[in-house]
Symmetry: C2
Subunit: 321 residues, 2 copies
């Protein structure tokens, strides 16, 4: 009988590993460093070692483990093939095949990290089967969940909401090489960029002129305290993000938008502001789409990754393993 499964979230600094029961409850979690030397060739063997050591230490027979769900910070193609992953030093890497060769009795599923987080949040709230998650961190990530499953798209690029073109007039480059991507305005970096420009171009007084280091957090806090310049920065970011999400609704018309990532720690003040602009730009039929804050924080990745295993009934049956 299957009694557990692993959910693993590979980040640029650490690999988060979670062991779950088959109902999706997190039983144990820990981290190992992400060894990026030699083009990240040790990352997957390190994970194998960590999983094996854990199973040995806790006397978990391999036949009771339903499998391993893994997520990575890059696009994932059909068959669990990662299509380059600059953060990890990887070129095109058949992650599923490599892991299943090292651990022949454990089925492996692979997803993009933002997609896995979206799946984790969807399962956690358990209210909607069709959601779009936006992760506002250093960049802007996204995940599209349709009928309870990750939608990856033809080239693994579905849910790349950070690269929705929002401003054809932009002169500065996005990390992706294009100009005018959503990420340049609605990420933590984007918010700092807008604030920096506004502080430079206006003589307006602002508490932001006194902070030792301008961060998205300091802008959000100043806005909460009513600082006019900070408020205008948050309004600009939310206007652009709300408009981008109105575009998203014209495509997949989800039940709910889930807002996550570091910037979302600003709470309902942020989601309310995004929703205000969303309603302004949305097609009338989609104006009541629900806006929610993400709830899983740093566990979203491992929780979503394991769901790829737990949602496949065949992997939970006694026969395979």
């Amino acid at each position: 009988m299957k009694t557990g499964a692993f959910g693993i979230d590979i980040g640029g600094t650490t690999v988060k590993i979670g062991y779950f029961d088959t109902a999706g409850t997190l039983l144990d979690k820990w981290e190992i460093p992400t060894r990026k030397e030699q083009n990240g060739e040790w990352i997957l063997p390190d994970i194998r070692d960590a999983v094996c050591a854990y199973m040995k230490e806790h006397n978990i027979p391999v036949e009771t483990v339903a499998g391993i769900g893994l997520d990575v910070p890059g696009a994932v193609l059909e068959g669990g093939i990662v299509n380059r992953c600059a953060n990890l030093g990887w070129g095109v890497t058949p992650v599923k095949k490599i892991m299943e060769t090292m651990l022949p009795r454990l089925p492996v599923r692979v997803a993009n990290d933002a997609n896995a987080a979206a799946l984790g949040e969807m399962k956690h709230s358990d209210a909607y089967q069709n959601i779009v998650m936006v992760t506002l961190g250093t960049g802007v990530g996204g995940g599209v969940i349709l009928n309870g499953e990750i939608w990856t798209g033809a080239f693994g690029a579905a849910g790349e909401l950070g690269h929705i073109p929002v401003n054809p007039e932009e002169t500065e480059c996005c990390a992706c090489g294009k100009k005018g991507c959503l990420e340049q305005y609605a990420s933590a970096t984007g918010i700092v960029r807008i604030a920096g420009k506004r502080l430079e171009s206006s003589g307006e007084d602002s508490v932001l002129r006194k902070v030792p280091k301008l961060t998205a957090k300091s802008v959000m806090e100043a806005a909460k305290q009513g600082d006019a310049l900070a408020v205008s920065v948050v309004e600009t970011a939310c206007d652009i993000l709300g408009r981008a999400l109105a575009s998203v609704a014209c495509v997949v018309d989800p039940d709910a938008f889930v807002i996550g990532g570091g910037v979302s720690k600003a709470g309902p003040m942020l989601t309310d502001c995004i929703q205000k602009y969303y309603v302004k730009y949305a097609f009338h039929a989609s104006r009541n789409t629900v806006f929610k804050l993400a709830e899983l924080g740093n566990d979203a990745g491992i929780c979503g990754a394991v769901q790829m295993i737990l949602s496949e009934k065949e992997l939970l049956s006694t026969d395979c393993g």
Copy 2:
């Protein structure tokens, strides 16, 4: 045994009716007028009469008909309920229920017309399971086909590509009440609007100054002949549309975009121009998305509508009917 099915496309002027074999081949088609008097209450009874008369005339036993696929120019909710349809005079109308009450032995499926057209084109080309179709007519319609099926969304608004917000600076209103929708630039009406403005604001010579009535067709033809002003109008429309489709790809990342509607009669000159701008704005992973011209013309609706019946295996089995 099921040997046929009906595909019916309800438009504002005529209702197109097609009778198909179960392989999806169109055997016969005809039109009846759309009677919009008394809030369109005769439209569905007229369709019932037409279907019954056809079956009687051709000796088609009801037990050989797999069902009726119907499309309407409005949003369709779960359960075949049409959520208002201004063009037909309908309020919220349970089309599936009404039709199945009038024709108890024929299962009915209902879709939005642009969605049905997208499904028809997908089945016709038979190359991709995941496509986004854009219909450039009086307005801009759209349909999203994922895993070979229409994606309708939470409020029936998936694929409403014409209302993607593309220009927050726009001062004129779209038919939907918002300002700056894609439809205001990339529809036949939008192209005429851009051309009219450009003719008014510039002193530039153009063959368009001599046409008796400015139409999207005359703009396209002038552009083909190299008229500089007409070329600039087409470039503007394709720039805005290519950018909107780059947004679409960041959400669902389809295998292909299919361009249809009256404006698409301009042919490869149009799709090439849209694709040129799409590639400029698209996220790198999605730059190779295929662009295709629609091929079914006015039959796309009936061909897609019938597919809703023919793709349900249970409806084709001998037992139900």
